[in-house]
Structures are given as structure tokens and as C-alpha cells.
């Protein structure tokens, strides 16, 4: 389902960080990548989402329909791939000054029409969807509080909901020492 082949990434100072990395993850599998800090776990994960562009190698995400070749697709395709991949950052990456609800809605940005969204914001259906997602984890009452005031535990729950607020096929999580890759079994996890 997710196939990584001969991935390589060289750091700007010329030192090779990732060399010849190949693996594949099947549907429903849960994979953990373990390693000391600085060995490139996060970079590998960022390559899968192409937040970092690898120097060589291929990453293919095989969804329900056509396969995405993440390593060389154009911006429009990349947007499509990215909305199918959930990613949770080490420090959450929440926009602290926005409300909890708006942060969940940010997870929908890959779907909305950029221009319409610029002038009119999110639609009512999307807001409803986000509120339901918050309700499922029992923090709907915090919807209008600023994300910066939440505890770390709540942040991660919130992020999970934000990324679940769409149908995705693969979910990446980075933590200090371990990184999880989890292509989902069924769409029942998502909406």
C-alpha cells in the first residue's frame, strides 16, 4: 500500500542521511521506526509527505483507486496526496492563536476551493463535521477556546481529530523516539 524504494537524502553539508531505504507497508499494518535521535526518522517521514524532497528513490502510495507517485508529482497532485495522508507533528503544529474548532477545520484545507475559502471561509457543513469530530472525543465544549490554552494531551487528541476530518488512507506520527506509520484498515476511522 505504501512502498518506499531506494530512498536517499543527502544533507546540505554533503553528509548522506538516508541511504538506500526500501520497505513497504500493507493495509492495516502498524509500523514503528525506531532509532537514536538524529538518524533521520523524521526526515524519512517528511519525505513520505514530501515536506522534504528526497534526492533519489521512489515513494508510491497505493490508495483505493490510482497509485500516487509521491516523489515526482506536480503541485496539484501533491495536494491530492497530502489530503489522504494524516501527519501529526512532534510539537503538534497547532496555530495557537486560532480556536480549537478552526484548528480542526484546518485539516480540511486540502479539500476546499482556495478562492472561495479565502473570501468566505469554511462552509457550515464543514464546521458541523468538525464539531462532531470534537464531540466524539468529548471536547466539543472547548471548541471556541484558543488552541494555545490547551494541555499537551488535549492537543494531540485535537490533532488526531483534525487529520481524521477527511478520508485518509495513511497516517504518520512523529514522536521523540518513535515514528508510527499506519495505513488504515478501513474508512470507518474516517468520515
Amino acid at each position: 500500500m505504501l512502498t518506499v524504494e531506494k530512498l536517499a537524502k543527502i544533507l546540505p553539508d554533503g553528509k548522506p542521511l538516508l541511504r538506500d531505504i526500501s520497505f513497504s507497508v500493507g493495509r492495516g499494518e502498524l509500523v514503528a521506526i525506531l532509532g537514536l535521535s538524529g538518524v533521520g526518522k523524521t526526515v524519512l517521514l517528511r519525505c513520505i509527505n514530501r515536506l522534504t524532497t528526497p534526492d533519489s528513490g521512489e515513494i508510491i502510495l497505493n490508495g483505493d483507486s490510482e497509485p500516487f507517485e509521491i516523489t515526482n508529482c506536480n503541485i496539484r497532485e501533491l495536494r491530492k496526496v497530502r489530503r489522504r495522508i494524516g501527519m501529526i507533528f512532534q510539537n503538534f503544529g497547532l496555530v495557537n492563536r486560532l480556536s480549537v474548532l478552526e484548528n480542526v477545520l484546518n485539516g480540511r484545507l486540502g479539500y476546499t476551493d482556495a478562492l472561495q475559502n479565502l473570501f468566505f471561509g469554511f462552509s457550515d457543513e464543514e464546521a458541523d463535521m468538525a464539531l462532531k469530530a470534537l464531540d466524539r472525543v468529548g471536547i466539543a465544549d472547548l471548541a471556541h477556546r484558543r488552541a494555545g490554552t490547551l494541555s499537551a494531551g488535549r492537543c494531540s487528541v485535537l490533532l488526531l481529530q483534525g487529520r481524521l476530518c477527511r478520508s485518509h488512507i495513511c497516517y504518520l506520527q512523529t514522536n521523540q523516539l518513535l515514528i508510527l506509520i499506519r495505513p488504515h484498515q478501513s474508512e470507518s476511522w474516517a468520515f
Binding site: M87, F89, V95, N96, N106, T112, A114
Partner: protein
């Protein structure tokens, strides 16, 4: 020193990295303060900076300030209209400058614009408008549209782009990159990520800088009076040319009141934006 002892002991040229870093580190540590001190001495000589002359001339300052006392209170009724004109000029000048410099700042910010050509062009525009003094802009616009507050407003907005663009750009470059990446990671387009991850982060400094520029523009409009660009500055220059220093004092009081008022308004607005962060 480290270098020499190392050479003596080993008899070979010192090339290893750890010591190299150490040497560089200590070298820098004293170099910058020394450079600053030399620059200080050089500038004191260059500007004829002399405390003795200042102390000797102090009675003259008292004389001059004495001429301003008491302020001409009758003049206040005539100053209301120019004061309002000045506020309107500064408001419009700041508004137009903010509207133009925000997109320029986005294009000039390293973390948002990857195209070097685009970045350098907008940086160039920002630096250019900062270089040309407001009074020169005023002269240009006075020659185009005649005397009055209109050329003054145009001059203020042109010159304000330079400062606002630079400050907005710096604020954008200082944002926390993670929310921006997180939003991009879910497939947000450039415009969307600016709206949802950049603007919320820079809003407080955006408001603070814009109000500070309004403050500067109220004072800058005084200089513009020199070239006949209307407002309270025109009155100030007029009063100074007639040596009526008591009227000058009352004009300064009016400007002081305007500045204090704008500061109060800025405080209220900023409190509304930042204050919501506190637990409800």
C-alpha cells in the same frame, strides 16, 4: 594561542576541527565589542560631540524655552481644523501603506517566497520607499496635484510602505514554522496557508506596527507642512517663521494630545486581539 602550542607539540600544521572551532569562537568574542568601541570613538570625533559646549550653552536653551511660555491658549480654537486634517491625513496615509506593504512583505519574506527574483524585487521596492524621505515625496506630489492635504497623504503613504513592509516582513520571517508546515501537510494551498497559519501568528505585531506608523505619520505631517502639504504642520512652520513661539508651544500640545489618543486606541484594539488568549 591554542594553535601555536598545538603546533609545537605535534610539529605539524594544525588542521583539526575541534580547535579550529574553539579559536573561531574566541576570536569572535572580542572582535565585535572591539569593533563597536572603535566605531564609537570614530563617530564621536566625526560628529564633533562635545559635552562641554552643551553645558556652556545650556542657558540659551532655557532662554529659548522661556519664549514658549505660556502657550498661546487663544490659538487652540484655530488649531482644531488643522488637527483634524492631520489625523485624516495620517489615517489615510497609514491605511494605504498597510494595504500595499502587506502583500509586498509576503513576497519579501524568505519563508514564504522561494523565487529569489520576486523576493529581491519587493525588497527593493520596500527599501526604495524607505530611502526617499517623505518630504521629497511631498515635493513630487505637490508639483503634481498642487498644495494641500492630498499631496501630503500621498507622500505619507509612499514613505510608510518602506517601514511597514520591512516590519511586516520581519514579523512574517519570525513566525513558528511548524503550524505553517502542518497546514501545508494536509494539502493547503499557498494562499490558504497564509490565511490560516501566517496571519493569525503575526496579527498582534501587525496591529502594533501599523499604529506605531500612524503615530509616526502624525509627526511626519509636521515636516510636510514645510512644503505646504497642509495639516497642523503647516501651522507650525507658519508660527515658527513669525517667531511666535508661544503659538508653537500650543501646537506642540495639540500634537501631543493626538499622539496620546492614538496610543490609547491602539492599546484598546491590541487588548481585544491579544486578550482573548487568556482563559475564558
Amino acid at each position: 594561542m591554542v594553535n601555536q602550542t598545538y603546533q609545537k607539540k605535534t610539529g605539524q600544521r594544525y588542521t583539526e576541527e575541534p580547535q579550529g572551532n574553539l579559536e573561531r569562537f574566541y576570536g569572535n568574542k572580542y572582535l565585535i565589542p572591539l569593533f563597536l568601541f572603535l566605531f564609537f570613538i570614530w563617530s564621536v570625533i566625526g560628529t564633533d560631540f562635545n559635552l562641554k559646549t552643551l553645558v556652556e550653552g545650556f542657558p540659551n536653551i532655557l532662554d529659548f524655552v522661556g519664549c514658549m511660555y505660556p502657550p498661546e491658549f487663544d490659538a487652540f480654537s484655530n488649531l482644531v481644523k488643522p488637527a483634524i486634517e492631520t489625523i485624516q491625513m495620517a489615517f489615510l496615509g497609514t491605511l494605504f501603506a498597510a494595504l500595499i506593504s502587506f502583500p509586498l512583505a509576503i513576497l519579501a519574506a524568505k519563508n514564504l517566497t522561494t523565487s529569489r527574483l520576486l523576493r529581491n524585487t519587493s525588497k527593493g521596492i520596500i527599501a526604495f520607499t524607505r530611502t526617499v524621505p517623505d518630504i521629497v515625496f511631498a515635493l513630487i506630489f505637490v508639483s503634481a496635484v498642487g498644495l494641500g492635504t492630498f499631496p501630503g497623504t500621498l507622500a505619507l503613504s509612499c514613505h510608510s510602505i518602506g517601514m511597514l513592509g520591512k516590519l511586516y516582513g520581519e514579523a512574517i520571517e519570525e513566525i513558528d514554522p511548524q503550524p505553517l508546515e502542518a497546514v501545508e501537510a494536509v494539502g493547503a494551498s499557498r494562499i490558504q496557508s497564509i490565511k490560516y497559519a501566517v496571519i493569525p501568528q503575526i496579527l498582534p505585531s501587525f496591529v502594533a506596527n501599523t499604529f506605531y506608523r500612524f503615530d509616526v505619520n502624525v509627526r511626519a505631517s509636521v515636516v510636510l507642512g514645510l512644503v505646504g502639504a497642509g495639516g497642523i504642520g503647516f501651522e507650525l512652520i507658519y508660527a515658527m517663521k513669525l517667531f511666535s513661539y508661544r503659538e508653537v508651544a500650543s501646537i506642540l500640545i495639540v500634537i501631543f494630545i493626538i499622539i496620546i489618543l492614538s496610543e490609547k486606541v491602539s492599546d484598546v484594539i491590541r487588548k481585544r486581539i491579544i486578550g482573548e488568549e487568556v482563559l475564558k
